[in-house]
Amino acid sequence: MTANRIYIFKRFERFWHWAQAALIMFLLLTGFEVHGSYRLFGFEKAVAYHTIAAWTLVGLWVFAIFWHLTTGEWKQYVPTMQKVDAMIRYYLTGIFSNAPHPFRVTTLKKHNPLQRLAYLGVMLFIGPLTWITGWFYIFYDQWADWGADGFLSLEWVAYLHTAAAFLMLVFLIVHVYLITAGHTPAAHLKAMITGWEEVQADESAAAGIEQRGA
Amino acid sequence: MKSRFAWTVAVAVLGATAMSAATAYEADWKRGRIYYRQVCTSCHNTEMKKPVSPSDRTKAEWGAYLQADKHLKGKEPVTRYFSKQYRDGIKASNAAAAKFADVPEKELLEDVKAFLNKGAKDGDSPASCS
């Protein structure tokens, strides 16, 4: 049998993903300490680490946005409802009976429709909500200069920031689990580490496919 | 012209003599207080666990004590603790020694003496423990 491999995650993309993963987990860890959920580093250090990690992530995002725009990879996140029902059905039933995965990865379509929706949600909703509230949180002393003093309250900025953190946490839990829901349990993880996703030969599309004798 | 010359000479000579006229050092009790508290008291507190107070002795007794120049039951002179050498030795950790590092030993001794005289049992304002 022949296994084909397609190169779907470029080097920067993988770096971006793992750096972002580490930063987000660290931000959740320090953020919930600042919030008061537990004591780990101590409040002062937690705040300092949280702030440094946040700015680092901002920097990473600036690069990532630039990369997505210049490479055209942003198109990977254009939402589609096509096959969404099939994906849901697969997760609800098919996956338990070893049914074939309804989605075939190609270099042009590396995310399944549910992934597209979820990642778009993270990038267009949870992310901006976190950034904007975090921004106001950090620059609390400038509100008066911005004229934002009248309508903003630190209380609600904090609530929204916390809510965004909870959403991110939920995403993280589901996302980590769904790593195992590829063609094989390790397929997604392997792909994100090496960049290469293995597909069966007969299903391989034209571009970017390397054949290898087994 | 002559008068101007004489005048100038007079001023110059007068100035010189006035400046070198003999007067004793005027002790600064406040400087003495700082040095006493931060060097004498603080060391006695930490080393001996027992405070020393200016009001422990009378003025005469303090005078005699400093005159005798004995510390630690006669094992060393008390003036050792006013020497520049001693101050240099502790100035890294002692702010008073650092601040007064360049004060002549005699003056510093006079300062502390003035403070002790004020705070002595029979002084103008007896001072306990500090």
Partner: protein
């Protein structure tokens, strides 16, 4: 002729130069010979050299008369100040304040107690309510300008220093020597922590009693006690911050500046600001490394973080004074005095019960600088609660308030239970009605209120009172400032402060419930899903 003149000048110049060299040599040789008079650099006038002061003085006013020969305006400048009038009309509230009218919950009032209280008046001879406030010779120059540390005004002498040897208090064996006015007058100089402290360290009847952030430990403090006054460092005097002109000292507690937004003062600035605020030197963004701390300054007074505790110098402050328990006598029939294990008085039959404490954490409150007093004539609406002797204004939303640290002095003191107002008992003195002599409240209150010209019903009781004292002194080095977590915690210093969201202290319970539930459900969901997959996988 011309050449001659020139030669003359040249010679004169050379000789003059020689003179200068001579002076220089005189200076250089000073430490060796120890015989050259050093030039005084802290003043341009050595008062010991003034003929007017080279004489014996029998009394304070005699000294003042000598001072006024040169300092012609000084007395009348002092006349214009609170230090002289003991009167102050608060421009915000219109209330007539000052020691002449106020009560506090320490010794209560100066009324009918003048000879004792006026030991801290900047004058001589205020022994009853008929004191002549226009007298120039009765202004006390020495109490502020003494440098010897020997000028003392004993309670009971109406502001005069002791002129002969006395036992004070009587029967105590404590002999007070007369003040050598000649020596003191010849050594006058600038004010110092010692001179201001002679009264302000001892307010409320003893060392450290009243303020909490002012006591005798500040006369020569080290850096940990106060970064500014550190005697081995910056060595600030009181007037370094309370920068004074024409004898009128700024920075009064009657109208404090709770929020100073103007930044550091510069030369030539003409507006009349309080120069004693932190911001008047440090500006409004003093934290260079941690900019986040500047953001805190919007809501928090500098003092709140930088004065971690009061009474830090080894001198306790009085936190509570309960007059209602005064009057107890011991088994021997004598007025009772009880001391704690350190020998400090905690009960005195003349005064009641005390609570004293060192290293006290302040209480915190929103404060906008407005202070309203309960004056003696004010009707007490109810007496079952706590009467605020002074009530501080402030709220999280008025845009003028910051969170400030306070000493709150609590206690119980007498009031007229029929007329429902605070009273001013006559306590000190050798009179037939003085409380400290006879332990009879009714008579003491009667005398005190008569002095005030206010009625007393004859019936009295005791009411709980509290008084707020904003803290500004005993500023700790920055390493010792209050740490983040001391407020940012559920049970921290600011646990009772409302109107501001404090990360870690505050969280919305509903949001936490919602958030953690969602996370738990997600976790449960994936676990079930995964479990099912594994079980199915096994079966196949």
């Amino acid at each position: 002729m011309k050449a001659d003149r020139f030669r003359g000048r040249l010679t004169a110049l050379m000789l003059g130069g020689l003179g200068v060299i001579g002076i220089g040599v005189g200076h250089a040789s000073m430490p060796d010979s120890g015989s050259t008079p050093p030039v005084k650099l802290n003043t341009t006038a050595d008062h010991a050299r003034f003929k007017e002061l080279q004489r014996e003085f029998k009394s304070g006013p005699e000294v003042t008369k000598a001072c006024l020969i040169c300092h012609t305006e000084a007395a009348r400048q002092v006349h214009r100040t609170k230090h002289w009038t003991w009167e102050f009309v608060n421009p915000d509230t219109g209330q007539r304040l000052g020691k002449k009218t106020l009560v506090n919950n320490y010794c209560v009032s100066i009324r009918a107690n003048y000879p004792f209280c006026t030991a801290c008046h900047v004058g001589y001879g205020w022994q009853d309510k008929d004191f002549d406030f226009t007298s120039e010779q009765n202004v006390d120059c020495l109490v502020c300008h003494d440098t010897t540390g020997d000028y003392r005004k004993q309670p009971g002498l109406s502001g005069h220093p002791a002129s002969e040897e006395r036992e004070i208090p009587k029967g105590s064996g404590n002999i007070v020597k007369p003040v050598d006015l000649r020596k003191v007058a010849q050594k006058v100089g600038k004010t110092s922590r010692d001179t201001c402290g002679a009264c302000h360290f001892f307010g409320g009847g003893g060392d450290g009693v009243k303020h909490g952030d002012l006591d005798s430990s500040l006369s020569a403090p080290d850096k940990p006690l106060d970064v500014h006054m550190d005697a081995t460092g910056a060595d600030f005097t009181c007037a370094t911050c309370h920068a004074t002109s024409s004898h009128d000292i700024p920075g009064s507690r009657y109208t404090p500046t709770a929020m100073d937004k103007k930044g550091a003062m510069v030369r030539g600035q003409t507006d009349k600001r309080n120069p004693a605020t932190c911001q008047s030197c440090h500006g409004v963004t003093p934290h260079k490394v941690q900019a986040r701390l500047n953001a805190h300054a919007r809501k928090i007074a500098c003092q709140t973080c930088h004065i971690p505790a009061m009474a830090r110098g080894g001198v306790p402050t009085k936190m509570s004074w309960d007059w209602s328990t005064a009057g107890k006598r011991g088994p021997d029939g004598k007025p009772l005095v009880v001391k704690d294990e350190k020998g400090r008085v905690i009960y005195d039959a003349k005064k009641g019960d005390f609570v004293i404490a060192e290293n006290v954490m302040p209480e915190y409150a929103w404060f906008n600088g407005h202070v309203t007093y309960t004056l003696v004539g004010d009707k007490l609406e109810r007496t079952d609660g706590v009467i605020g002797i002074n009530r501080i204004g402030g709220s999280p939303t008025d845009g003028k308030s910051r969170i400030w640290p306070f000493k709150v002095s609590r206690g119980a003191q007498p009031y007229d239970s029929v007329n429902m107002n605070l009273v001013t008992p006559h306590t000190a003195g050798d009179t037939p009605t003085a409380y400290w002599k006879h332990l009879d409240w009714a008579e003491a209150i009667e005398t005190g209120m008569e002095d005030f010209g206010l009625p007393f019903s004859g019936k009295f009781d005791f009411v709980q009172t509290e008084m707020y004292w904003p803290l500004s002194h005993m500023v700790a080095p920055k390493e010792k400032a209050v740490g983040c977590a001391e407020c940012h915690s559920r049970d921290g210093r600011l646990k009772d402060i409302k109107g501001v969201y404090l990360p870690r202290r505050d969280a919305a319970p509903w949001l936490d419930l919602l958030g953690w539930s969602a996370a738990a459900l997600a976790l449960l969901g994936v676990l079930l899903h995964g479990g099912l997959r594994i079980v199915r996988g096994w079966r196949e």
